[in-house]
Symmetry: C2
Subunit: 151 residues, 2 copies
DNA sequence: TCGGCTCTTTAGAATAGTTCTAATTATTGA
DNA sequence: TCAATAATTAGAACTATTCTAAAGAGCCGA
């Protein structure tokens, strides 16, 4: 409808992923995805909302949540839940875990060579894991952060 | 003050742990801890509240949150954050991770032989992890659950 | 033991993040 | 093109948690 919506080049791959999961392709979903791809800093729904509004001022918060949900369910975006804070969103679908800096609050992707290695052998009989998540908390190498603690 | 409060045998170890973390020992904190030790099913703050009220009908929700916070900060209880759901509390301080059943919603402790093995070598230079958390989601071996999926 | 300071408890209000609702609009398939 | 269905919108509602202010309890020094 709006120029800004048309301004984003439609992504056929995204279109397909949405459809195969039973969702429709919409300019809002494309735009939310573009925002996530554009700045990979693990934004909250709120931050996504602010960014998407620059291109689509009419978009509502409910739509942002709906779009994020559709993208997550379509497997093109991961939802990152750390502590009790607002959920964050991440378009990196490679095998990775998250490092949360206690000083600056930033979240970093940490690549994993392979699927997380919690040998099933250690799981009591009958437990069948679908997904294993690893998260770390600590200090990141950024200048502003490292001044807060020794070494 | 109430009989029920006195009825719980005061735990010297708990007393010490609280004091060394700068907290005072109170009947409420003892009772909250007793509830967690009594039924290790990873209750939410709400569930703890209901259970503690049986022994201390006067207790308030704010106090339960305060007690849980003091216990967590004293290192005698772990707070378990899974998905976006209410936080859960766990008095198992051994090295373990959590398995969340997608069918019945129960949370199981899975013992780990040693600290989680995400070799620092894989972390980019400068990242200093303080804690590493692992959580799993899948199907547990309970009868009611296993009927929902093959094998 | 008394006085006073601080921490804790309490009830209820406030907040944050998210989900729901109902009306409107867009997309899709026949 | 038309009808059916899904998505969007604004705003209300909801849930888990935190905050607030007043009252009560624990603790330390004189």
């Amino acid at each position: 409808m709006s120029d800004s919506a048309k301004a984003t080049q439609p992504d056929q791959a995204l279109n397909d992923r949405l459809h195969t999961s039973g969702f429709r392709f919409t300019p809002q979903r494309q735009q939310v995805y573009n925002v996530l791809i554009g700045t990979r800093d693990h934004p909250t729904a709120d931050q996504v909302f602010i960014r998407v509004k620059q291109a689509m001022p009419e978009i509502s918060m409910a739509t942002v949540y709906n779009c994020l949900d559709a993208l997550v369910k379509s497997g093109v975006v991961r939802q990152v839940n750390l502590d009790r804070a607002a959920a964050r969103f991440c378009p990196n679908m490679t095998e990775h875990c998250h490092f949360h800096c206690s000083d600056c609050g930033k979240i970093f992707d940490i690549d994993l060579d392979a699927k997380p290695t919690v040998p099933e052998a250690r799981l009591p009989r009958g437990f069948k894991p679908d997904q294993i998540e690893i998260s770390m908390r600590g200090h990141c190498p950024d200048r502003g952060c490292s001044t807060h603690h020794k070494n």
